[in-house]
Amino acid sequence: MKKKLLLATLLLSTSALFAQVSKPIEMPYVEYPIAAGDHDEVVQQYCLICHSFGYVLNQGKKSRPYWKGTIQKMVNEFKAPIPKEDQQTIINYLVKHYGYETSSEH
């Protein structure tokens, strides 16, 4: 199945692979697997404005304070337009699916 994906992606991007920059480039789109449930639609709605879910998946599991700090950074520094209650939803989602509650696990 992985081979199929690679082949499909390669086929799609073949034109781009050999294209010179004399015309617009075509960027492949990667759909990163996002755990379903716990209001993943809220997570997608805000996080994907600026970056792919690859940013989450490639950090490894993180603590609640870490994810809380990250959301604060997105809101305070990068000006992500996330209302307070949605911030909490996103933090809970990230801790549940891509994190842990206590520091004893690390």
Binding site: M1, K2, K4, L5, L6, A8, T9, L10, L11, L12, S13, T14, A16, L17, A19, V21, K23, P24, I25, E26, M27, P28, Y29, V30, E31, P33, A35, L48, I49, C50, H51, S52, G54, Y55, L57, N58, Q59, G60, K61, K62, P65, Y66, G69, T70, E77, F78, K79, A80, P81, H106
Partner: protein
């Protein structure tokens, strides 16, 4: 100009089908005990299939991993990619593109690529481009995992850069006496106006250093689009967050302009060791990362290789530093009890990868750890992994590299 847009890509039915297959498969990989996500391998414009850490903004690493680092020059189509903001132009028309040099200057300049190639003396330098977060995942071996994408040793490369000296551009424009800073900005833009733009600043006296160039060529070709076509700032010896891609504006300023990426993001603790207790949060005084640290990486053999007893193998890799030059590279095969000198390869200049190799004929079966340690001409030496100073951003990792192999 066409912009990145997720919606544009969602139209591709074939790709959607393929990615949902993929989703099913990798969900399993995430919930199992291995916490490490394996990024998909996808071909991008002018690139061989790359580990796609993120597609938007693109963060790409060669799928060859360490193997890439046995040679001094990294091929363009396998060179790592790391953008910061989601909206980059999908096309740069060289008939319209201009590099603006403006602000506190006597004569503002607006230069086409042809102008840069024909009106200024070309300058060429071989230099290492390394992300500040390169090798970040290894902080987690001896301390707490740090913030950020957990790069292996794959966010680096070395290329021959050709272009115009920044100094020549500044001289041509005539910097006013009141000017103190140079701000450099490229064409990548945030998704929302309120998001801080990605730009870099340096003091005028630094900008006048000979080795800093505005490059239009990489390894004898146009810059690959994703490495910053058509122009990229090259600051040899410095981490790559300063090497502004798609450089379009050089602003000469009398005052420093606060910059999120320099003041907050790409920073280390502002103390002598540039370190804090492992696990600390960002609550420390910071300074921007700048000069790189002496470092060496094993390119061959690959981790967990099985090697036949009595075979002759050439352990190989690269070493580099902030531009003082590599003096010596040492290998240990007995867990750092003893070290032997590796043979240094061709010298491509003090800012380049210095290839090294070490002939080894293992005679006893068993498990071995190969370690490598470099020292530069001013005596900077790589720390052992348990000695490296920790910082929350996981920047400038340069501890002794190691690879475990089995002699069978």
């Amino acid at each position: 100009m066409d912009k990145f847009s997720r919606r544009n890509f969602l139209g591709a039915g074939l790709l959607l089908g393929a990615s949902s297959l993929f989703a099913k498969e990798t969900t399993k990989a995430i919930v199992n005990k291995n916490p490490e996500f394996i990024p998909p391998v996808v071909a991008f414009p002018e690139k061989k299939p790359m580990k796609t850490i993120s597609d938007r903004p693109p963060l790409l690493a060669s799928n060859r991993g360490r193997e890439l680092f046995t040679e001094a020059i990294t091929p363009n189509d396998q060179f790592f990619v790391r953008w910061h903001l989601p909206d980059m132009p999908m096309y740069v028309d060289l008939n319209e593109f201009r590099l603006e040099v403006k602000g506190s200057v006597n004569t503002p300049l607006s230069l086409s690529i042809d102008d840069l190639k024909s009106k200024f003396e070309p300058a060429e330098i071989t230099a290492v481009l390394q992300c500040g977060g390169n090798s970040r995942k290894y902080y987690a071996v001896t301390g707490q995992a740090t913030h950020g994408v957990q790069w292996d040793h794959d966010a680096m490369g070395c290329a021959v850069w050709k272009g115009v000296r920044l100094k020549d551009l500044l001289t041509h424009a005539g910097v006013k006496d009141s000017a103190k800073w140079v701000g450099l900005n490229g064409l990548e833009k945030p998704a929302m106006e309120e998001t801080p733009d990605f730009f870099r600043e340096m003091e005028i006296k630094e900008a006048l250093e000979d080795q800093i160039i505005v490059a239009y060529s990489m390894n004898g070709e146009d810059l690959p689009y994703l490495n910053g076509f058509p122009l990229r700032l090259v600051i040899p010896g410095h981490f790559s967050d300063s090497w502004v891609k798609m450089l379009s504006e050089i602003m000469i300023m009398d005052e420093y302009r606060p910059s999120f990426f320099m003041d907050v993001a790409y920073t280390v603790p502002d103390n002598d060791c540039e370190c804090v207790i492992s696990g600390s949060d960002f609550e420390y005084k910071r300074k921007p990362i700048a000069a790189m640290k002496v470092k060496s990486v094993i390119g061959y053999p690959l981790p967990e290789s099985a090697i036949k007893k009595g075979s002759r193998i050439k352990i190989a890799g690269v070493a580099f530093d902030q531009g003082k030059g590599i003096k010596e590279v040492m290998i240990s095969l007995d867990n750092a009890k003893s070290w032997s000198a590796a043979k240094l390869g061709e010298d491509h200049g003090k800012f380049a990868f210095r290839p090294w190799s070490y002939d080894w004929e293992p005679k006893i079966k068993g498990e071995y750890t190969i370690m490598v340690r470099a020292i530069n001409r001013i005596g900077n030496i790589q720390p052992m992994p348990d000695e490296i100073g920790w910082n929350a951003g996981g920047y400038q990792y340069n501890a002794v590299d190691h690879v475990n192999v089995k002699i069978v």
